[in-house]
């Protein structure tokens, strides 16, 4: 009786695990495999493997469809916005974590409540702001808007990171004559490496993948990012499946690569310091 129960629970465990792995990986694996097939192969036999591996579709996208421009835009916008917001939120989270000052709790509550404001509900004011600043259809517009993206999450992660650094370190440095900025820059920042990495990677991924504001605030090829390319493929090339699948791989793969490099760190921080604060 007890034995069958044990076997049953084991079977159940692995059914759930296998199901989880399949739903998470199968769609993207299918897309990657299909991007190497010809249009005819995709239409006639959706389950078969490609008859030959070649990167023609990928080359074609970079040569004929400005994918290099989109990729450069994505890298540029994402890097600037991520680095900028990481510096801004590290400064804010640091003083909230380490010092007492009037308004401290209010600031923290306000900053983290932003998590609950649906990004889309702020569309019109942000759209108008970008128009007023004369930044419509520029890369700077997206850099600026993305600065605000990961506010709540970064505050959660960075605050708990800085709080975990012992105050005695700061005091020791102060006694040796280090000023306020030096204590932050020389003592705390290096020790907060893990939290900074986690918040940075999460914001990088969010910015890299952002579609909504990118599609709304840019209109021309030279300013658009990779995810917005999906709009193009949704309409114009919906019948060239090979090309569309290759485009999907180009958009999706960088995120997966960046995540797999940093995944251990990100998982731990997400679970422990948590979105819960």
């Amino acid at each position: 009786m007890n034995k069958t129960k044990k076997i049953l629970s084991k079977i159940f465990t692995y059914v759930v695990i296998v199901f989880t792995i399949i739903v998470s990986t199968f769609p993207i694996i299918w897309v990657i495999i299909s991007s190497f097939k010809t249009n005819g192969e995709i239409l006639s036999s959706p389950f078969s493997l490609p008859s030959s591996i070649n990167f023609d579709a990928y080359m074609y996208l970079f040569e004929k469809y400005d994918f290099l421009t989109y990729a450069i835009n994505s890298i540029l916008i994402t890097s600037v916005a991520t680095l900028g917001s990481l510096i801004i939120y590290a400064l804010g989270a640091y003083v909230i974590a380490k010092y007492d000052f009037p308004g401290k709790n209010l600031f923290y509550v306000l900053f983290t409540l932003t998590l609950l404001v649906p990004a889309h509900s702020r569309t019109q004011p942000i759209f108008s702001l970008i128009m007023k600043l004369n930044l419509y259809n520029t890369r700077e517009a997206l850099m600026l808007v993305y600065l605000s993206g990961g506010m709540a999450m970064s505050m959660f992660i960075l605050k708990s990171t800085f709080m975990a650094i012992p105050k005695s370190f700061d005091e020791a440095a102060s006694i040796e004559g280090a000023g306020f900025f030096k204590v932050f820059y020389k003592i705390n920042l290096p020790l907060a490496k893990n939290g900074l990495l986690t918040a940075g990677v999460l914001m990088f991924l969010a910015n890299w993948n952002e579609y909504y504001y990118a599609s709304l605030l840019t209109t021309s090829t030279q300013n658009r990012t990779l995810p917005v390319v999906m709009l193009l493929f949704n309409e114009a090339f919906s019948y060239d499946y090979t090309l569309t699948f290759a485009a999907l791989v180009i958009v999706a793969l960088p995120g997966i690569i960046i995540y797999s490099i940093a995944q251990e760190q990100v998982q731990e921080s997400l679970a422990s310091s948590g979105i819960k604060g």
Partner: protein
Amino acid sequence: MVISKKEKTHKIKKINSKKKLFWIYLFILPSLIIFITFYLVPIITVFFTSFTKWDGFNSPQFVGIKNYIKLFKNDAFLISLKNLIAWSVLAMTVHVGFGTLVAFILYKKPFGWKFTRTVFMIPNVISVAAWAMIYKFFFHNDIGILNNLIRFVNPSFNVKWFYQSPYAFWAITLTWVFYAVVVTLIVLGDLMAIPSDIHEAAKIDGASSWQTTLKINLPLCRNAIGTGVICSVTARIAMYESIILTTAGGPGDDTMNIPVILVNSLLDYRYGYANTSGVIMFVIGMITLLIVNKVFRMNDSIY
């Protein structure tokens, strides 16, 4: 005037702390500017202009609650509300339930648990836009995997998932309902934080592992589950890409959601009306937060 030594040190301390305060506010300033520019001012603007007729060029004209009345008389909006309720129920049950189940299974550390945890994240690191497109092809009637699999059993099966009622609603649902890695990660974090003496005590009292799971572990991670519910319901309110790139709200208004209405009215230069739906999104989010807080007793301490 003679200043005593005590007063002197006091004065130096005061100057020091003033200097410190200057640094502190200098550090907080950039975050504050971002908050005011991208959150506070937009929220206030959205709220006030939702009571006006405004095209974005001329100055807004106060019209009272006319926009709200119009919104609640709009069929697309009513369908959005209905969809949102259905999606929220699915989020709270299937989505959070599945995420929690995976967390409890991974907690026992079966073979491959780390690998599972890693790959479960993959759909979340891909652009929602790309993921929507992937599903569009996955469910494609001719080239898609799903229909071709079904056709092994039932050769005459032909469903255009994203274009046919009522399948479109379920096709959209399937693009997110099993991807509950955020829930899994936070619940797993809470499970791992349970002090081992609680489990030892339960064992001494003769609790079976099933009882431990149900009576001890589950209530102890109710905060994480509550957070998971809030995250997944707010994500439903904001669901846009996975709709606009697949069904665009159709067929008819079958898969409408509030952000789709918001963007459509924005592109029509009906800013006041767009902001009315923005306010509704915000209010629904807040109501969700309050209800979940109450139901999961999230403000009470656990240990």
